[in-house]
C-alpha cells in the first residue's frame, strides 16, 4: 500500500504538472491557471443554472445530471482511448520503475488508479457544480442529491474500460502499418465520428410530444446506461442499481484482464518496422528538406497531432453536416453580413486552436542542437514550421469555404470576404504562435504533453486565439455596420501577422540563440 501511495503521488504530479518557469514569471502562470479555472467554473456553473431555469418548469430537472453523465462518459471514453497506449502498452516510466523493488501489479495499479482518480475528481467537480446550479433554481430532494454524489465514483468505470479496450485494439491494428500514428489517428477519428453520428440520430418513430421519454431516449443513445442511472437516482430502483453494479464490476474485471494479459500480448506482437531499404539519396532544397523533417516530426507525435489536427477535422465534419441540414430558421434570424461574420469567427477560432507553431520550437527539445549548429537561416527554420501548420489548416479551410457556400447561400462578395478573412487567419495565427513560443520556450521536458497542453505558450495562444477571433462579435455591438466590424477584425489579424513576420525576420535569429 505504501508503494502504491508513493507511485500514485508521483504519477498524479505528472498528470497535473504545468510548465515550471523561472521565479520571475511564475506569477503570470499562476494568474493564467486561476483565470482558466474561474472561466471553467463560470461557464459550467452558468450553463447548469441556465439549463435548470429551462428544465425545472418543464419538470425535466433530472435531464441535466443525466446529460452531464452522458457527456462525461463520452469524454472519458475518448480520453481513455488516447491514453491506452501510454498507460498499458508503452508507458514511459517503465525503464525507471521496473528495476526497482516494486511488484508489477502495484505499478500497473498505480497507473490505472491515477487515471481513474483524475476522472473521478472531474466527475465529482462537474456533478457538484451541476447540482449547485439546480439547487439555485429548485433544490432536488436531499436523498436524490446524496444518491447522485455517492454513486458518482461509478460513473467513470464503464467508459474507463471501454476506452482502454478500444485504444488497445487500435494500437494493435495500427502497429502493422508503416505510419502507425497516422493510422491510429484515422481509426480514432473514424470511431469518434461514428459514435457522434450514431448518438445524435433520432429515430423517426420518437414521439416528440413526450418530451421526457424523448430526451431519455436521446441520452440513452449517447450513453446506453443513462436510463438506468436516472431511474436509480430518482426512484432508488433496485433493478437499475443491480444493472449499474454488474456493469461496474465487469468493468473492473475487464480492466484487470486488459492490463495484465492483453497489453503485454499486444506489446510482444508488435512487428519490427524497417524503413525502405532502397531509399534514394536525392538532393533537395534546404526548405524542402526542413519541411520534410518537420512533417515527420509532427506525425511522429501522437499528442501533437491529436491536439492540433482534431480542430480542422471537426470543422470539416461540422461543415459537411451543415450541408445536409435545413438552415432556414437560422438564415431568417441573421442577416447575410452577420452570417458571414459569424462563420468567419468560428473558422478563425478553430484555425487558431489548431496552430502547431506555438510549441514547435519547444518540441525541438534535446534535438535543438542539430538545427542550431547547422547553417540554417532562422527565417527558413520558421518557414519549415509554418509550412507544417499550413499543410494542416489551408486545405481544410479552403474545403470548408467551398462547402459552406452551399448551406449559407452567400453571394460572391460575401464569400470572398469570408475566404479572405479565413486565409488571413491561416496566415496570422501560426506567425503569432512562433512569436509566443520564442518568448515562452520550454525545450527541456520529460513529456510532450507538458509542452503541448500545459505549457505557458499553449495557454497564451488559446487566449490570443479567443481574443482575436471573438473581437468582431464585440465590435458588432459597437458599430451598426456588421461588415465594418468584420473587416476591422480581419484587418487587425492581418496587421498583427505582418508585424510579427517582420519581427521574426529581423530578430528571429537572435531570439533563437537565447533559447537553451
Amino acid at each position: 500500500m505504501r508503494n502504491l501511495g508513493l507511485l500514485l503521488g508521483i504519477q498524479w504530479r505528472e498528470i497535473i504538472r504545468f510548465q515550471s518557469l523561472e521565479s520571475d514569471r511564475r506569477w503570470l502562470q499562476r494568474i493564467l491557471i486561476i483565470l482558466l479555472l474561474c472561466l471553467g467554473l463560470f461557464y459550467l456553473g452558468g450553463y447548469s443554472y441556465l439549463m435548470a431555469t429551462i428544465l425545472v418548469p418543464l419538470k425535466l430537472t433530472m435531464m441535466l445530471p443525466g446529460a452531464i453523465l452522458a457527456a462525461l462518459s463520452f469524454l472519458f471514453l475518448i480520453m481513455n482511448m488516447f491514453k491506452a497506449d501510454a498507460i498499458l502498452i508503452h508507458p514511459k516510466d517503465d525503464a525507471i520503475l521496473c528495476p526497482l523493488p516494486l511488484s508489477r501489479s502495484v505499478i500497473l495499479a498505480s497507473r490505472l488508479l491515477v487515471l481513474y482518480l483524475f476522472e473521478l475528481i472531474t466527475s465529482l467537480a462537474v456533478m457538484g457544480i451541476c447540482l449547485t446550479g439546480i439547487a439555485l433554481v429548485d433544490p432536488l430532494p436531499i436523498t436524490t442529491t446524496l444518491t447522485i454524489l455517492v454513486s458518482t465514483p461509478l460513473i467513470p468505470l464503464l467508459p474507463f474500460t471501454l476506452g482502454l479496450a478500444l485504444g488497445m485494439l487500435m494500437q494493435w491494428v495500427s502497429g502493422y502499418f508503416q505510419h502507425t500514428h497516422f493510422i491510429k489517428l484515422c481509426l480514432m477519428f473514424a470511431l469518434i465520428a461514428g459514435l457522434f453520428f450514431l448518438s445524435t440520430q433520432l429515430s423517426n418513430e420518437q414521439e416528440l410530444t413526450h418530451l421526457v421519454s424523448a430526451m431519455t431516449a436521446l441520452l440513452n443513445q449517447i450513453y446506453p446506461l443513462c436510463g438506468a442511472w436516472l431511474a436509480f437516482w430518482t426512484q432508488l430502483d433496485g433493478r437499475s442499481l443491480l444493472l449499474i453494479t454488474v456493469f461496474s464490476l465487469a468493468s473492473v474485471c475487464m480492466t484487470m484482464i486488459l492490463a495484465v494479459y492483453l497489453a503485454p500480448l499486444i506489446k510482444a506482437q508488435e512487428p519490427q518496422r524497417k524503413t525502405n531499404a532502397n531509399a534514394a539519396n536525392h538532393n533537395r532544397s534546404l526548405l524542402s528538406s526542413l519541411y520534410d523533417v518537420e512533417l515527420k516530426r509532427y506525425w511522429n507525435s501522437q499528442i501533437y497531432v491529436i491536439n492540433t489536427a482534431i480542430g480542422p477535422l471537426l470543422m470539416l465534419g461540422g461543415v459537411i453536416y451543415l450541408c445536409f441540414q435545413d438552415l432556414t430558421p437560422l438564415l431568417s434570424l441573421l442577416t447575410k453580413e452577420q452570417l458571414t461574420g459569424l462563420a468567419w469567427v468560428i473558422l478563425s477560432l478553430i484555425i487558431g486552436l489548431s496552430t502547431t507553431t506555438h510549441v514547435a520550437i519547444s518540441l525541438e527539445g534535446e534535438w535543438f542542437w542539430i538545427k542550431k549548429s547547422l547553417p540554417i537561416p532562422a527565417t527558413t527554420l520558421f518557414l519549415g514550421k509554418l509550412l507544417v501548420n499550413w499543410t494542416l489548416t489551408v486545405p481544410t479551410t479552403l474545403l470548408c469555404l467551398i462547402l459552406l457556400s452551399i448551406p449559407l447561400d452567400l453571394n460572391l462578395m460575401q464569400w470572398s470576404l469570408l475566404a479572405l478573412g479565413s486565409c488571413i487567419s491561416c496566415f496570422c495565427f501560426p506567425l503569432l504562435g512562433i512569436y509566443v513560443n520564442l518568448t515562452f520556450p520550454k525545450c527541456q521536458y520529460t513529456s510532450e504533453m507538458i509542452v503541448v497542453k500545459q505549457s505557458l505558450a499553449s495557454l497564451i495562444m488559446v487566449g490570443i486565439d479567443f481574443a482575436l477571433s471573438l473581437l468582431p462579435l464585440g465590435l458588432m455591438y459597437l458599430f451598426s455596420d456588421d461588415t465594418l466590424a468584420f473587416m476591422l477584425g480581419i484587418g487587425l489579424q492581418l496587421l498583427l501577422g505582418i508585424m510579427t513576420g517582420i519581427y521574426l525576420q529581423k530578430r528571429g535569429e537572435q531570439r533563437l540563440l537565447t533559447i537553451h
Partner: protein, 236 residues
Amino acid sequence: MLSIQHLEKTYPNQKGVHDLSLTLQPGDLTAFIGPNGAGKTTTLKCLANIHAFTQGEILLNGISLKEEPLQFKQHIAYIPDNPDLYTFLSGRQYMNFIADVFRLTASQRQKRIQELCERFELSEALNQPISAYSHGMKQKLALIAALIHDPDLLILDEPFVGLDPKASLTLKTIMQEMCNQQKMILFSTHVLDVAEKLANRVAIILEGRLVADGKMQEIRGNESLEKIFMELASHA
C-alpha cells in the same frame, strides 16, 4: 585559422566563461581539457552557435560568427557529448537531411556516406529508425553526419564516450587524416591519456578561464599531462 578573442559567457546563477582567448592554426588537433563545470561545453557550444556569448569575437578564416553566422557554420561541424538525434528518421534520412543543408549533390553524398559508413561499420543499420540505435550507433551516426561535408573545423565534445575500441581507433585515424589535410579539430575529453597521444596542442580551462594553451610537448615537458593538469588545478 580559428581565433577566439576574449570570449565571455555569463549565466545568471552559475559561472560561465571569462576572457577566453584561443587560436587554432590549420593542422592543429587541440585537446580541450578541464574539470567538470570548468566551461568546456559552454565554450564549444558558443563556438557552434548554440549559445550566444556575452562578449568577445570568434573568427574562422576571417569569417565572424557574430556577423556572418550562416557562412561561419558552413565550415564547421559540431557533435555534443550525448548526441540526441531525430528518432523519427532513419540513419539514411538523417544523413540526407544534413547533406541537403550543406547542398551536397547526390553523387557527393552517396560517395561520402558509403565511405564513412564502411569505416564506422554502420552500413547495415542505415535504413533502420534511429530510435532502434544503441548509444554507440548514434554516436557513430553523428560523427558520419558531421564529416559528410568535410568541415574545416570539427568541434567534438567528449567524442570517445560510448564508442567501441574499433570505432574509437577509426575516429582517431580520421582526426589525424583531417589534420594532415590542414583542417582544425577542437575536442574536449576527460581521458588525458587519449589527449596526450592524439593531440598536438592542448588548452586547459579552469573555472571558466584558460590557464594553459600551447603545443602538447611544450605544456607537458617531461611530465605527464595528468600531473601538469593536477598541479594547475591545485593552484587554481
